[in-house]
């Protein structure tokens, strides 16, 4: 069911969008190019984040520190079906969107997109958000300094997203 939905999602959206654009008489070509421009900028803007994270992780990996980290934590995390390799991603996710994206990309590249770690990292990246960044940006824009319980509800959503990703990936991909 889940993978069937995944297979159809993008063709379905492509079809709907094109049809809708046709009906509404949108200048499809010009608009597409404008959007593509944004996509180009977005991809370029991620380079500094990716470089920072890739460098730190490759050093961490090449030195043998990653192996050490995994051998220390995996006895505990394996009990919950979590590969210890994704723990750094879980920690980074609410803090820095760019940083998390860097870790995700590195995990997918190293272990392969179709490995369990690759699939779990992909799901994690998509299902949780940079809570602290969003809070700072949105509250900062209206000079609100007392966040009250917004941090609690935001983080509980992130933690749930993390746990739910682990559970569903173990069910679907293992």
């Amino acid at each position: 069911m889940v993978s069937l939905a995944a297979k159809w999602a993008i063709p379905f959206i492509l079809f709907t969008v094109t049809l809708l654009a046709f009906v509404r008489r949108v200048n499809v070509y010009e608009v597409f190019v404008r959007g593509a421009q944004e996509g180009f900028t977005t991809a370029i803007k991620t380079i500094p984040f990716l470089v920072a994270m890739f460098v730190a992780i490759s050093v961490f990996r090449a030195s043998g520190a990653m192996e050490l980290f995994v051998s220390i934590f995996s006895p505990v995390t394996n009990l919950f079906g979590i590969p210890a390799e994704v723990i750094p991603l879980g920690i980074m996710r609410p803090l820095s969107g760019g940083g998390a994206l860097g870790i995700t990309a590195e995990l997918i590249k190293t272990y392969g997109p179709d490995s369990f770690i690759g699939r779990l990292a992909s799901t994690l990246q998509g299902s949780t958000d940079t809570t602290f960044f969003v809070l700072t940006l949105y509250f900062g824009s209206v000079n609100v300094v007392k966040y009250r319980y917004a941090v609690v509800s935001g983080l509980s959503a992130d933690i749930t997203g993390f746990i739910a990703s682990v559970v569903i990936c173990n069910l679907v991909f293992k």
């Binding site: 993978s3 939905a5 995944a6 297979k7 993008i10 959206i13 709907t16 969008v17 809708l20 608009v31 404008r34 959007g35 593509a36 180009f40 977005t42 991809a43 370029i44 990716l50 470089v51 994270m53 460098v55 730190a56 992780i57 490759s58 050093v59 961490f60 090449a62 030195s63 043998g64 520190a65 750094p88 980074m92 803090l95 860097g102 995700t104 990309a105 997918i108 590249k109 997109p113 690759g118 992909s122 990246q125 299902s127 949780t128 949105y138 209206v142 609100v144 300094v145 966040y147 009250r148 319980y149 917004a150 609690v152 509800s153 509980s156 959503a157 749930t160 997203g161 739910a164 991909f173």
Partner: protein, 198 residues
């Protein structure tokens, strides 16, 4: 916090490398890492440009507006303190719709407008978040994205056999996160409600 993690990885990496006698590997790893990052980002350009192009067409064709009709009844329930025809409600609906479609560039300005309008409705201390603001941020940080475009792009670039197979699992996990975020928000609103503004 991000600083600590990043420095930690580098420093621990170098210490462990020194102990393991792999210090020469650090230099190669750092330079190779940087190279890999740039190669990766360049590969991402293709998919990001394509996808954001399509989504821009969707935006112009009124997909956000269409989706906002579906979102509207839900937001009325979630934001009891915001009048239905207030500009704040409109901005909230547009922001959430853009988030669902994964249109980050369109979502953020809408979100900032929503915050500005919510601040006008904030009857308490203007430096303190109102109930509606907290709910809005809980929704915003946990919002469902139908197509996680960047992740799919990374997977395509890495040569995945089925790059979109994570869409279902992502939607499931986000829905769980969102449900909990909204529930916690409701509970906390009650708890905080008793000591409201005095």
């Amino acid at each position: 916090m991000v600083n600590i993690i990043w420095m930690g990885m580098l420093l621990i990496g170098m210490i462990v490398a020194a102990i393991n006698g792999k210090i020469d590997a650090v230099t190669t790893a750092a330079l190779k890492g940087a190279q890999a990052a740039v190669d990766f980002a360049l590969g991402l350009i293709a998919i990001m440009a394509f996808w954001l192009g399509i989504m821009k067409v969707a935006e112009e064709a009124g997909l956000i507006r269409l989706l906002s009709r579906v979102v509207k009844p839900v937001t009325a329930f979630l934001f009891p303190s915001v009048p239905r025809d207030h500009p704040a409600m409109g901005a909230i609906i547009m922001n959430l719709s853009a988030n669902i479609l994964g249109l980050g560039n369109a979502a953020t300005p809408m979100g900032l407008i929503a915050m500005k309008e919510l601040q006008k409705l904030n009857r308490g201390d203007p430096q303190k978040a109102s109930d509606a603001m907290c709910t809005f941020l809980a929704l915003n940080t946990s919002c469902i994205t139908v197509i996680p475009a960047t992740v799919i792009g990374i997977r395509i670039k890495a040569g995945s056999v089925n790059p979109t197979e994570i869409v279902g699992t992502t939607i499931f996990a986000t829905a769980c996160g969102m449900a909990v975020g909204v529930t916690v928000d409701r509970i906390m609103r009650r708890i905080y409600g008793y000591r409201k503004w005095r």
